[in-house]
């Protein structure tokens, strides 16, 4: 998800309008998951990105319930929602519990785990910039420790959407390429 564009395997599948934002994509996908409306922007983006990933890589659905590891990171933590929560007590004089529960970036991983009933390994990291080495080193560990696949994620939504999810497999898969620093940078369109 780059700005308003939603791209799957190099194909633009959706362009969000400012009015509907990600809710438009949710409706377009025909999902029936009312919890979506309770999520903050970070979780909504992560949720939809993984839904699209599952459509593109349905083999993930065949994994054991603890077979899919989640390895996400970003450069903004949960700051989009943090600002809203701070406003709730500083300006509105009523600290909002429903905003507070989203003031941790790893909540997005919880939402994905709940949606898919995934009990596997998970980790949320912080980096000032997209860091291929983090995904390479950590996915190697997760796969070696028994995960069947790792969903990698880079998840920023505060200023404009800058979201990338991808799946790393332990064994070669149709349509998959070999994982290198260049492959990951290429996915991020970093030359």
């Amino acid at each position: 998800m780059t700005g308003d564009k939603v791209i799957v395997n190099d194909q633009t599948v959706w362009e969000a309008s400012p009015e509907t934002g990600l809710t438009g994509l949710y409706k377009e996908l025909g999902l029936e998951y009312p919890k979506f409306y309770k999520m903050d922007q970070l979780s909504q983006a992560a949720f939809l990105a993984v839904e699209l990933l599952l459509q593109a890589a349905p083999a993930l659905k065949e994994s054991a319930d603890d077979g899919v590891a989640l390895l996400f990171a970003n450069a903004e933590s949960s700051s989009a929602t943090d600002a809203r929560f701070r406003k709730s007590y500083e300006e509105d004089r009523l600290p909002s519990p429903s905003l507070f529960v989203y003031t941790l970036p790893n909540i997005a991983l919880g939402e994905i785990a709940i949606r898919n009933k995934w009990y596997g390994e998970h980790m949320f990291g912080f980096f000032p910039n997209f860091t291929p080495d983090f995904y390479m080193a950590t996915s190697e560990i997760m796969l070696q420790q028994g995960s069947e696949a790792v969903i990698g994620g880079w998840l920023n939504v505060r200023d404009q959407r800058d979201v990338l999810v991808f799946v790393l497999w332990a064994a070669p898969q149709e349509g998959a390429v070999r994982l290198t620093e260049a492959t990951l940078n290429n996915l991020m369109h970093i030359d």
Binding site: V101, F124, F126, F127, A137
Partner: protein, 360 residues
Amino acid sequence: MVYIGAETIQSPLGWTITDHFEKLQSGISGITFAEREGWNQSDVYLSKITALPGTGKLNTLFRTAIDQLAAGIDPGLLHSDQTICVISSAKGDLDADLNHPFQALLKELVTAYQLKHAPVVISNACVSGVMAINYAAALLASGKYAHAIVLGGEVISQFVLYGFQALFAVGDRPCRPFDRSRNGVTLGEGSAGVVLSREASVFKEKPLQYLGGASSNDANHISGPSRTGEGLYRSVSKTLQRANVKPEAIGYISAHGTGTVFNDEMEAIAFNRLGLEGTPVNSLKGYWGHTLGAAGVMEVALAMQSLRKELLVASMGYSEPGTTQSLTVLTSNQPLTSPLFLKTASGFGGCNASLIIRKI
């Protein structure tokens, strides 16, 4: 083999690991009454470091932790290109910069200690500390690095305090983990550090051995613990398997024990499912409150001292059983009977993590 040592803790109880073990052994807590510091000038209890000013507190805590642990290791290790630094914090310095809670800290640490690699920050709510140690150990085991410095740090903010109060999760007295009368957390602040290495020789004092760890998600609820303790059960099961340890070999469980009704109940259910109900268990949060992202590192550091000194400290705030399934909560200091401990943590987002360390 992955060794772990050079543990250190900073909290209102002191600046060194020795300060902490002595105070805990004597039943001294850092939690004090904080008049009108809560939302709407409500009275709360906090474990607050008053010796440091609020501005720059987090950086000072991290620097103190590094300086302390550096005294226990080969001094060249900090700047070695074989060393990675893993940082654990849930909220960073959000009062300084809400949009960039970790940047200033990272910059300062890299410059001040001439770190060769950019630190990795693990921000996974209240399991961050345990997860950071597991991650560091896995990086060493994979051969990517030879040494790792793991630091955890968290400061009290109005942000977090008001949030927990809005959830009605803050107790009206100092927290009482696993006790019948428990009714919520007490927030705390502090830092801690441990060093992991593939080489025992880098430690000035004989290190302990890291045996294994894992994480698992409850896949159940983002802010409420699982009723069945599923994620914690799975995390500990995997940890036992990876460490190649049977439940009966565990001599001590350093639990998460926040002092909320539902968290402690969830842990009791999971420990019973694992056959660990007879293993001595405590929560250290009665001594320094809940320090979120720092909690795991602080509690592992103290548990390491318990192994070294072969003494388990009483679970502060506990007097009467308060979970539907029984646990062997430490009501007094007890000698250690088996030289392995299990550390567990659980947090928002349904996350759970655990690890096992043994004395060699």
